[in-house]
């Protein structure tokens, strides 16, 4: 009952309403993208882009001489910078000279270091570094809510339009290409959507924690379902439950919502993992029983 009362307080204040809306939109986007991030093994790339986005945010603040909250132009600069980092990763890892994970590691630390340096030079923003790292959801403005709503619509359109192509691509890239799937286009589109998600999620959970929202819901989905619709539904349910629950718990306990959301989604991941382990053990035991019955 108390929880529902706390949920009710979100609709009394505009800033709380925006915060809940932003958290739900972010969880919707991450819930849709996460299964493909996990199945295409892009977890480290997503983490790298999240860290690299700090460089873009800092560059935007540095060039526009704006305050700690990025403007629309600042978000544009951040998006271009993050896309530039993604392109650099693709360039370095093409042609068997360097493994993709090494290229991601090399590029994201450089971009992250640039971000710290630029924010330290701009003294008035440097004091808000923890806002970038862990989010400041109560400071979400209407522009950011609209941008998140736009990105959620675009992500939903992408997932529905290329649903079966995405499924084929996650199984085997060469097989998908042989079937006529435009795998290069899918890869670039997914990377661009991940880049936009990590940038716009900075305020909600911060760049250090957004990776969890891009990986854990998908991991929960793949542990729970054996077909793509069920994997997506489990991923969406996990992301949205933890976003709503995290907002309520943080409001009740007066703690930052970003870490609470991430810890909640991690708890769901642990539950999914152990349920799956139990199911696998039961299947294994049943299989052994059948073998014993067949072999006297």
């Amino acid at each position: 009952m108390e929880t529902f009362l706390h949920l009710g307080t979100f609709f009394k204040y505009g800033f709380l309403e925006r915060a809940l809306g932003a958290a739900l939109l972010m969880s919707l986007i991450c819930g849709m993208l996460s299964p493909f991030v996990v199945l295409r093994r892009l977890s480290f790339a997503a983490d790298g882009l999240a860290h690299a986005s700090l460089g873009g945010l800092a560059l935007g603040i540095f060039l526009l001489n704006s305050g700690p909250s990025p403007t629309l132009a600042g978000y544009g600069i951040t998006f271009l910078f993050t896309c530039g980092v993604a392109a650099a990763i693709a360039y370095f890892s093409t042609g068997n000279r360097l493994q993709a994970d090494t290229a991601v590691g090399a590029c994201f630390v450089a971009a992250f270091a640039l971000g710290i340096l630029l924010l330290t030079i701009r003294q008035r923003s440097a004091g808000h570094l923890e806002d970038f790292f862990f989010g400041s959801i109560l400071a979400v403005n209407p522009l950011e809510c609209w941008l998140l709503a736009g990105l959620a619509s675009l992500t939903a359109f992408f997932c529905v339009s290329y649903w079966r192509w995405l499924g084929q691509w996650t199984f085997d890239e060469e097989l998908a290409r042989a079937s006529g799937v435009k795998t290069v286009w899918l890869r670039y589109a997914l990377i661009l959507l991940i880049a936009a998600t990590v940038i716009l999620s900075t305020k909600v959970v911060g760049i250090l924690l957004v990776t969890a929202m891009l990986i854990l819901p998908g991991a929960i989905g793949t542990l729970s379902g054996r077909n793509m619709p069920l994997i997506l539904l489990c991923s969406l349910a996990a992301a949205m439950t933890s976003a709503t629950g995290g907002m309520v718990v943080s409001n009740m306990a007066n703690v930052p919502p970003g870490p609470v959301i991430v810890l909640l989604v991690f708890s769901l991941f642990l539950a999914a993992f152990f349920l799956r382990r139990r199911r696998d053990q039961r299947i294994w035991r049943n299989g052994s029983q059948i073998v014993r019955e067949v072999q006297p």
Binding site: L39, S179, M228
Partner: protein, 256 residues
Amino acid sequence: MHTKDCHVLTVDRLTLDLSGRRILRDIDLVVEPGEFLGLIGPNGGGKTSLLRVLLGILAPTAGDFHWSEPACGRPRIGYVPQRTGVDRDYPLSSREIVKQGAPGSWPLFGFHAREANRKADELLNRVGLSNQGGAMFVNLSGGQQRRLLLARALMNNPNVLLLDEPTAGVDSEGQEQFCEILRELSRQGITVILVSHDIPLITAHADRIACLCVGLHWHGPARALDQSAVNGAYRCELERYQIFGGRTRSQLQENL
């Protein structure tokens, strides 16, 4: 439907270079509808690369190839890749993996979803996996995984099947089962192009054999394949890597 006077595939002086190395040289090949063609040759001989060119994944450096003649319509192609490239931990069930082979990009709903399920079950039954529809890919044996990939390739109602070493690492009984399925598909009018290292198996089932080692060393009816043709194709591998086991080239040729 193809008629007998249409070639399914015509390869014309096809050459492929990758990273400065010649992979395929002046390949000429014609494949007829419903034919079962076996592609043999040493490792690095260009068998997989030829399949990748035919699938449009690699572009030829010179020469050309075309599927069918315009009047016959472009064939639908099914492909079974080498198992090494496939994600063994993929979490979807066998039925879902087979359904992925259906063409199109939008989700399937209602009648189309039911039809895809029915067809996937029918294909699983056809390849002898009728009781494995709910099993996960990782829990299938090597031979079952290959048959599952074949069922997936058949989901698109292909006219042509390209298979890249589908029987590698599979026991002899599994290999026989697999080739029997291919033989049956070929009898039903599906053109089969099978890459394999197992020469006795492929000569027992294929109509024609092509020995590939950068160039096309020999091709003809399977029953006409003799030891010298095989030696000729496999000798070029030794020459390419200069592995003569301490013997001179002339000694090696004498032994062959």
